[in-house]
């Protein structure tokens, strides 16, 4: 509609008003929290889903759609692309409702600006689930404005015209006008009122649900043109690497840069101050070497002589810490869910069974390590990088440089993997600080792989202690789960020692089992390194323990693990988060998103059926099954393993079933499940970051091994439960990972009789 470029101030003014109107009428409350006092907000009804996220959602076509007179439709993607396919999926939703011809659609990446675009924090498997409807409304509104413009041109009632495949048609006369011709007039049409927006019937979808569109970035990726944060190049740009404290909370005491400055290409050495208080998303501090190319900077850093004060975490030792967690897991602790009477039921049970599971720290190890570039000109700072949360990057840079937020622009590149690491924009702040130190010259900071592995925001380490009292049939009548792990909250509050509701609500507190007596406890744990979100987060240890333990109970009862699991889940029923003492519920409405055990049973049965569960198996081969509900989606996996006489394992096949409601881009749902299988296998087989004297001991991929092609599952078969577009959507990016680890270890048990309770598997199968 010949709309100005998405960055035009004119549009921003338009949008603010539009947002207000839309929020006020459609939701009975203001979407943007700006301007509301805390007191007022406290009286508001609770918000869920996209409404509860900072800056909520925006659905205005004036923000997201621009149509040129040449007919090219530009659609803004405001979420970050890290491999989940969002730059294809999100614009596809708009294009579908807009009746745009995909070959004439261009995708424009939004900078970090949540007031303008709505929430941009690309994590929690939320993008599609929160923006499917806003993006549909956005495309539909644009379509209606084009129809209104055509009707006005032809002086016919708007009801007589219809947008179809990039043009508007007057059905009675056969007259047609292309979107390019209509663009200018359409832009001046009033936005349809929220209650006047006509969404397509799903049977009319052109792209949604078909999985037929190619990825918008695939061509660039295949020819080496795709731009990641690390690929940023600006005139006069300098390159930096940073020597950071190797112990969390460590500081530079003194440094000698003389040798570093003698390395050819090194131009400057500068200290980055550590930030007092908990880590948050602040730079760790350290000494930066700035050079004319990355290699010179790396060489210069090796030549630095630095005296460190390691601080309070200098004795962090993974072996000792494991013992600490185990001791905590064996004592009663804070009760976070208490159904029935565990103690009495366990005492009266036929048998008691106890097991303990251990999972070490994991590093994200995205193939593109953190990297960002910044430049400061005329008092304004621009930052380029692969940020999962560009608004957070913008806020952090503005705070650190003491600039108004409006003077900071964060350009979002492709992310070479994210997995939660790039939700933390510390590397963007480093770039900004270093640009400032160089009088605003563009500086690109690159983390080397050892930086990435030593100074990650690590996935937590945990001990999961489970006890069950079983009846005469071997079914659990009493269930105790003590989950102890340093909390992500510790990254923001140094005193935080207990898992937050968003961690407990990831598969420990909200087990939807048909067990009358359930007690969930959470002992304290002190963090000694930066803990952060890792794809699937606490669902990984919780699902590993719970789904391994159910299989152990099945074995003790002499039952088929799949039938036993279904019996523990119980009959199909709707379980509210309140019934599970779960105050998290993935941030979603308890009414819209209760736990549906029928859907959980459904994926178990689907995965089992597709895997040929129960078929006769060759010796040394085994099938394992596990199911988990996370990110408001239901996933079950059947893993097949073969373990030879020497303990060498191969994974011929995985069958993974997902019920995430309706799918927008089924091919990417498949891709996410395939990737989740490999990441789950990787974590189970070899994933471990260990600490000694406060330092992570793994330097690179020879020590932090991630699964390579020969060890990956040879065949991954994805089974998608058909959904209904009128029902709430589930997440896709993360829920595939959690069931893989227990399904794999349950398969190993089936093949060998060996029960894996300590991850990674490593050499445990070697004889």
């Amino acid at each position: 509609m010949n709309a100005p470029s998405p960055e035009s101030p004119l549009v921003i003014a338009n949008v603010s008003r539009r947002t207000f109107l839309q929020g006020a009428s459609a939701l009975g409350g203001l979407v943007l929290a700006i301007g509301y006092s805390d007191a007022l907000r406290a009286e508001d009804p609770p918000k869920y889903g996209a409404d509860a996220m900072p800056h909520g959602w925006i659905d205005s076509p004036l923000v997201f759609v621009a149509i040129g007179e040449d007919g090219i439709v530009s659609i803004v993607c405001h979420r970050s692309e890290m491999g989940q396919g969002v730059r294809t999926g999100m614009p596809m939703i708009v294009a579908d409702e807009l009746e745009a011809d995909w070959t004439r659609v261009r995708v424009v990446q939004a900078p970090g600006d949540e007031a303008r675009y709505g929430n941009q924090d690309t994590d929690g498997s939320r993008s599609t689930r929160h923006f499917f409807l806003p993006m549909r409304r956005c495309g539909a509104a644009a379509r209606q404005m084009l129809e209104a413009a055509a009707a006005a041109r032809w002086q016919v009632p708007v009801g007589e015209v219809q947008a179809k495949n990039h043009e508007v048609v007057h059905t009675a006369t056969g007259r047609r006008l292309g979107y390019g011709v209509l663009a200018k007039a359409a832009a001046s049409m009033p936005l349809p009122a929220p209650d006047a927006i006509r969404l397509k019937d799903p049977s009319q979808f052109r792209y949604i649900g078909t999985g037929k569109l190619k990825l918008v970035d695939a061509q660039d990726m295949a020819v080496g043109k795709a731009q990641y944060g690390i690929d940023t190049r600006l005139p006069g740009m300098l390159y930096a690497v940073v020597a950071r404290p190797q112990v969390s909370g460590g500081k530079v005491v003194s440094y000698d840069s003389a040798a570093a400055l003698k390395v050819p290409g090194v131009v400057h050495v500068v200290q980055i101050d550590a930030t007092p208080g908990p880590p948050q998303f602040n730079p760790l501090g350290g000494v930066a070497v700035i050079a004319r190319n990355t290699w010179a900077a790396i060489q210069g850093r090796s030549a630095l002589k630095i005296v460190w004060d390691d601080g309070p975490n200098a004795s962090y030792d993974s072996v000792a810490y494991k013992a600490t967690l185990e001791a905590a897991a064996r004592k009663p602790a804070r009760v976070v869910r208490d159904d029935g009477d565990f103690t009495a039921a366990a005492a009266a049970a036929t048998k008691r069974i106890t097991a303990e599971y251990y999972l070490p720290h994991l590093a994200h190890a995205s193939m593109e390590p953190p990297a960002a570039c910044a430049r400061i000109e005329q008092g304004k700072c621009e930052v380029w990088g692969g940020f999962q949360s560009p608004q957070s990057a913008r806020d952090l840079v503005a705070k650190r440089l003491e600039m108004p937020v409006e003077d900071v622009t964060v350009h979002v590149t492709l992310l070479g993997g994210g997995f939660g690491r790039k939700s933390k924009s510390d590397f963007g702040v480093e770039a900004a600080v270093l640009s400032k130190a160089m009088d605003g010259k563009p500086v690109k900071v690159v983390w080397t792989r050892d930086d990435d592995l030593h100074n990650d925001y690590f996935h937590t380490v945990s001990v999961e202690h489970l006890e069950a009292g079983v009846d005469a049939r071997g079914l659990p009548v009493a269930w105790l789960h003590r989950s102890v792990a340093p909390t992500i909250d510790s990254t923001f509050d140094a005193d935080a020692k207990q898992q937050a509701n968003y961690e407990l609500g990831m598969g420990v507190i909200n087990v939807p089992f048909a067990i009358p007596n359930i007690r969930i406890e959470n002992p304290e744990a002190i963090a000694h390194t930066r803990i952060g979100w890792f794809r699937s987060v606490s669902n990984i240890p919780h699902a590993f323990a719970v789904q391994s333990f159910v299989a152990e109970l099945a074995a003790a009862a002499g039952r088929d693990p799949k039938d036993f699991l279904l019996e523990v889940i119980g009959p199909a029923r709707v379980v509210t988060p309140q019934m599970l003492s779960d105050s998290f519920n993935d941030g979603e409405s308890p009414e819209l998103y209760p736990v549906d055990t029928g859907r959980l049973r459904g994926v178990v049965e689907l995965a089992a059926k597709e895997a040929g569960w129960g078929r006769s198996r060759p010796e040394a081969s085994g099938l394992g099954i596990a199911a988990h509900y996370s990110f408001v989606s239901y996933v079950a996996a059947v893993v097949e393993v073969v373990v030879d006489a020497k303990g060498a394992m191969t994974i011929p096949r995985v069958d993974i079933a997902i019920d995430c409601g309706a799918t927008i881009n089924p091919d990417r749902v498949r891709a996410q499940m395939e990737g989740a299988c490999v990441m789950g296998v990787s974590a189970a087989m070899s994933g471990a970051i260990t600490f000694k004297a406060g330092r992570a001991q793994q330097d690179n991929f020879h020590q932090y091994e991630v699964t390579r092609m020969p060890a990956a599952p040879r065949e991954i078969r994805v089974h998608i439960v058909p959904g209904d577009y009128s029902k709430p959507l589930g997440g896709v990016g993360e829920p595939g990972v959690p069931p893989i680890l227990p399904a794999l270890c349950n398969a190993i048990f089936a093949a060998t009789g060996k029960r894996i309770r300590q991850l990674p598997i490593g050499d445990q199968l070697k004889s």
Partner: protein, 155 residues
């Protein structure tokens, strides 16, 4: 001054002779399609062809390349096999984040030039040095077979 031939173009590089090719490609010449992943030849993200053989640019000093021809992802499409591999990658929707895929494509192209009809074991052995953290291995295998002209390669 070190002479370098990259994608058919001649360069005189005024950097220490032990500088790894990777950083010369990325920082000096501006060919950023070749990626940094580990710096120790462990992940394959920086795979290029050196006189037709796959090599890791992150551990190859430019001094070792005086009389050799380097081809990167930006030019591999000029080769029929390279082009077929790139097309297979797009057709089968191989990439997720895409960051490692340039290296994967360079390794796969080298494999197919050596063995036009590779077995699964050939693929395992040629691709074991290339890590994909997104876990696209199944589609990579299928795309290699697809580029080799095999039917039913889609997983």
């Amino acid at each position: 001054m070190t002479k370098l031939n990259v994608n058919g173009k001649q360069y005189d590089i005024d950097l220490p002779a032990d500088t790894p090719l990777l950083w010369v490609l990325r920082d000096e010449i501006g060919l950023t399609g070749t990626k940094f992943g580990c710096g120790m030849a462990l992940c394959g993200a920086c795979t290029v062809h050196i006189d037709g053989q796959p090599g890791r640019a992150c551990v190859t000093p430019i001094s070792a390349l005086a009389d050799k021809k380097v081809v990167t992802i930006e030019a591999i499409g000029e080769d029929n096999t390279g082009k077929a591999v790139q097309m297979a990658w797009i057709d089968l929707g191989v990439p997720q984040c895409g960051y490692c895929q340039a290296g994967q494509i360079m390794s796969a192209t080298a494999l197919l030039k050596l063995k036009p009809k590779p077995t699964d074991a050939d693929i395992d052995s040629a691709m074991a040095g290339n890590i994909c953290r997104c876990g696209t291995y199944g589609r990579i295998r299928a795309a290699i077979k697809h580029a080799a002209g095999e039917e039913g390669a889609m997983p």
